[in-house]
Assembly symmetry: C2
Homo-oligomer: 233 residues x 2
């Protein structure tokens, strides 16, 4: 049984037998070039080859199953599968469990992502997208306060318009945490008055008729109340 | 035993008993407001309460342990812990297993993140950071080809300068996949000649002496060879 090259800085002694078997299996898949659909040795074979108990192997396999890396198919047994990129992160996004530093990082990560999409929006916007976005901002025009749902509708549509499903899903996952962190800031009254407020409707007009630079500046002003919380570290 | 509100679109019948117990436990933690350090019921208690086998409970707990959500401490038994936000994603970043769409999404995600950091860099850059960045670009100045290691050294220093550890780790995780995807594009000869190439040294000068807009435009030109691969969807 060879030790895996550890890709974390965890000391080896703190790894449980299950951690080690999990690492060994992932390394085995990579080094042997396994692709989705390939048949895998079963639990008994793995347990015999590694000389570890079936319980330990079953636990390690269950972890990989959770990540979507392996599947069991009728009559085919265990096969390699296409993992779900965001399954792990989705499961741990609990504000009560994450550290304050992690929560702050996620808050900022949403801002970074929001400021980075203009190239993609201008490269991929279509008439159909713009029509749908227009319908969203029109119904928001008479609202004095934009609800959380309307925020998600507008920004979610922009994420969709990037044409990047992973980005869209990732950013959507981050939004509840973003709100949670900002509510904390807001209660501490660190909010500032932003003069020239840029609305969703303004952003829509810039995306439809303006330049990439104008849109990006508009987005910055739209998010200025959040950027005001950014301080030196 | 109550069913958890499912946060995926998976039909209920495809969930294994372990999937269900895992979901129930995560929901139980959230609804009861468990925080890191809180004691948790043990495997036997959970198995009795949910009326499921200990093997199933052990597997579900092993998954949560992998995500860093629970830990076992000497004399304290099982406790709630601070999960590792990126543990799951780190484990599945295998180019052979991810779909072509996922790989392309990750490629683009790095570009989005790279274009979104200028606000953070200008808000948080310090003399010490700039000195360190200068040392990196000085040693790269005479190189005709910038190696992968030197790419990581320069961009990695920028990620560090954002002051956001999660962003830094996330972006560093994406880089090997980014290279993998781009090598594919490059071999298909979709590369274009970029006239006014912006070097790492140029970017350093813009970060030190220029404006946020100038830096961002420089970054776009620096990455233009990658942006040239972005097409409509």
């Amino acid at each position: 049984m060879t030790e895996p090259k550890s890709n974390t800085l965890e000391p080896l002694e703190s790894l449980s037998m299950t951690d080690r078997v999990e690492n060994i299996l992932r390394e085995y898949f990579t080094e042997n070039g396994f692709k989705p659909g390939d048949s895998l040795p079963n639990e008994i074979e793995i347990s015999q080859k590694l000389n570890v108990s079936r319980n330990v192997v079953r636990e390690a396999l269950s972890r990989l199953r959770m990540l979507g890396m392996i599947e069991t198919r009728p009559r085919r047994g265990m096969i390699m599968a296409q993992p779900d990129l965001l399954a792990g992160i989705e499961k741990v996004l609990n504000p009560l469990l994450l550290s304050q530093d992690n929560l702050k990082d996620i808050f900022e990560l949403r801002l970074i992502l929001e400021m980075g999409i203009s190239e993609f929006l201008f490269a991929r916007k279509t008439e159909k997208d713009l029509d749908e976005l227009e319908a969203i901002v029109k119904r928001q025009k008479d609202l004095t306060v934009v609800s959380k749902e309307e925020e998600v509708a507008f920004h979610g549509k922009l994420y969709e318009m990037t044409g990047n499903d992973t980005f869209q899903r990732f950013q959507t996952l981050l939004m509840p945490i973003f709100e949670h962190v900002f509510t904390g800031y807001y209660n501490q009254e660190t909010h500032v008055d932003i003069p020239n407020r840029v609305t969703h409707h303004d952003l829509f007009m810039l995306l439809k008729h303006g330049t990439q630079e104008e849109f990006r500046k508009g987005m910055y002003t739209h998010l200025a109340v959040y950027f005001a919380t950014i301080t030196d570290r």
